[in-house]
């Protein structure tokens, strides 16, 4: 199961906040693709995953990042 979250045009930390909100609503195992063009997203999305114990799968194309809910 996968889903896309469109955060294009949002400045950090808004994409990370949206990611935290949405991932919590999804079942464990779901892959969430976050679309974000703020330059800080490339850094802050993996950092959030590390702090929150979620799995960062890597970039999925330009301005696109994949996260799997693992807990």
């Amino acid at each position: 199961m996968s889903e896309t979250l469109d955060c294009l045009g949002q400045r950090c930390p808004l994409p990370v906040i949206a990611l935290a909100r949405r991932l919590a609503e999804l079942p464990v195992g779901t892959v969430l693709r976050v679309l974000a063009d703020d330059p800080a997203a490339a850094n802050d999305i993996p950092a959030w995953c590390r702090l929150r114990g979620q799995e960062y799968l890597g970039p999925a194309g330009p301005d696109s990042y994949e996260v799997r809910r693992v807990s």
Partner: protein, 367 residues
């Protein structure tokens, strides 16, 4: 108001202020001229150079004065022969700008912000390397870099090591073995507008400035002599009290690290032990660095931030990116000789409530 941004510029040391005022009266003439006033200015310049050399443990004729720390860094790089410049990924932006026009190799750092020595060794041993640049300690997170080991690797590879010592000079000793060192008087309690460049004898380095003449080593143009005199006096005074200040500030930073680390969703950055005595950085999850900075300003604290929203470029700090740590909600605190324990107490009393209220306003509390 508590000023917590010494890493950007320390308040003028009283010894520097006194020297500045005296030199305004006594050292305004061109030190290159042969009349009485010029000779007096020349004496002041020579004395300032000798004092800086003495504090840095080098010869006076190895010390050059530049118009700023940034100018000194850029000259350090530009004076090296053509070829690749190896540098850590966490150098000050002035180094990154200086290498932008030539081949460069950025060496990664670990999560604490310490350069990967294995990768550094491979990089300096590669063919075509003209120089390596390594900051003495991170200006953003305080982590001390393995300079002595880097210097050995550079010596073995026959590559000059350029050290940006802006955050260390006048505060903590800089290990020996480098070829070129740059520093900024503003960071040690001297006035702004004085950069120091030290080029050890035998280093293959050519002054990069148009019109540089043999025997007149400084960056061309009439230097601000009263500021140079004040910079030297400030360095002497700062170095004399460096050990006692470090012993006083190190535990204050420990307290900030400890208290910030106890707050929910706050990541304290950099090495907790092998670090500068006066500097600490942390990031608060879900917060906007600019909002945090303004909130602290209203509460009476001047701090800095590496978050993208506080940068003119709207890019996060390249240092935080290289470390792979959270870049939003970022605050850097850097203390100095005028900082008191009471200032830190007041800060720690204000910070948790401010972070909580900003999170509540943003609707991210408990997220």
């Amino acid at each position: 108001m508590a000023y917590f941004d010494a890493a950007a510029g320390a308040p003028l040391h009283p010894a520097a202020r006194q020297a500045l005022l005296a030199a305004q009266d006594d050292g305004w003439a061109d030190p290159g001229k042969l009349y009485t006033q010029g000779r007096r200015a020349r004496q002041l310049l020579d004395a300032a150079r000798a004092a800086v050399a003495d504090e840095l443990g080098v010869r006076a004729d190895e010390v050059l004065f530049c118009a700023s720390g940034t100018d000194a860094v850029q000259a350090a790089v530009q004076g090296c022969r053509a070829g690749t410049v190896v540098h850590s990924a966490i150098e000050h932006s002035s180094v990154l700008h200086a290498v932008a026009a030539r081949p460069a190799h950025a060496v990664p750092v670990d999560r604490l912000g310490r350069v990967d020595l294995g990768a550094f060794a491979d990089a300096v041993a590669a063919p075509g390397v003209a120089a390596a640049a390594l900051i003495s300690a991170s200006h953003e997170v305080g982590t001390v870099q393995p300079l002595a080991a880097a210097a050995q690797l550079c010596a073995a590879a026959g590559v000059p090591l350029l050290v940006d010592a802006a955050q260390s000079a006048g505060r903590v000793p800089v290990p020996d073995g480098w070829s070129v060192l740059s520093a900024s008087a503003h960071k040690w309690g001297g006035p702004a507008g004085v950069g120091v460049l030290v080029v050890r004898k035998g280093t293959r380095w050519t002054p990069p400035w148009p019109g540089a003449e043999p025997g007149r080593p400084d960056q061309p143009g009439t230097r601000n002599l009263p500021a140079i005199v004040a910079a030297a006096a400030g360095l002497r005074a700062a170095a004399a009290e460096a050990k006692s200040q470090a012993e006083r500030l190190f535990p204050l930073v420990d307290r900030i690290r400890h208290e910030a680390g106890r707050m929910p969703d706050v990541e304290v950055l950099g090495d907790p032990v092998d670090r500068l005595p006066h500097l600490v950085t942390f990031s608060c999850l879900y917060l906007d660095g600019e909002a945090l900075l303004h909130g602290l300003d209203r509460a009476g604290f001047a701090v800095s931030s590496g978050s993208s929203c506080t940068a003119a470029t709207l890019r996060p700090s390249h240092v935080l990116e290289a470390m792979g740590v959270l870049s939003h909600g970022n605050i850097r605190i850097s203390l100095h000789r005028e900082t008191t324990g009471a200032d830190v107490d007041r800060f720690l009393a204000v910070l948790p409530g401010l972070v909580a209220s900003l999170r509540a306003e943003a609707g991210v509390a408990g997220l």
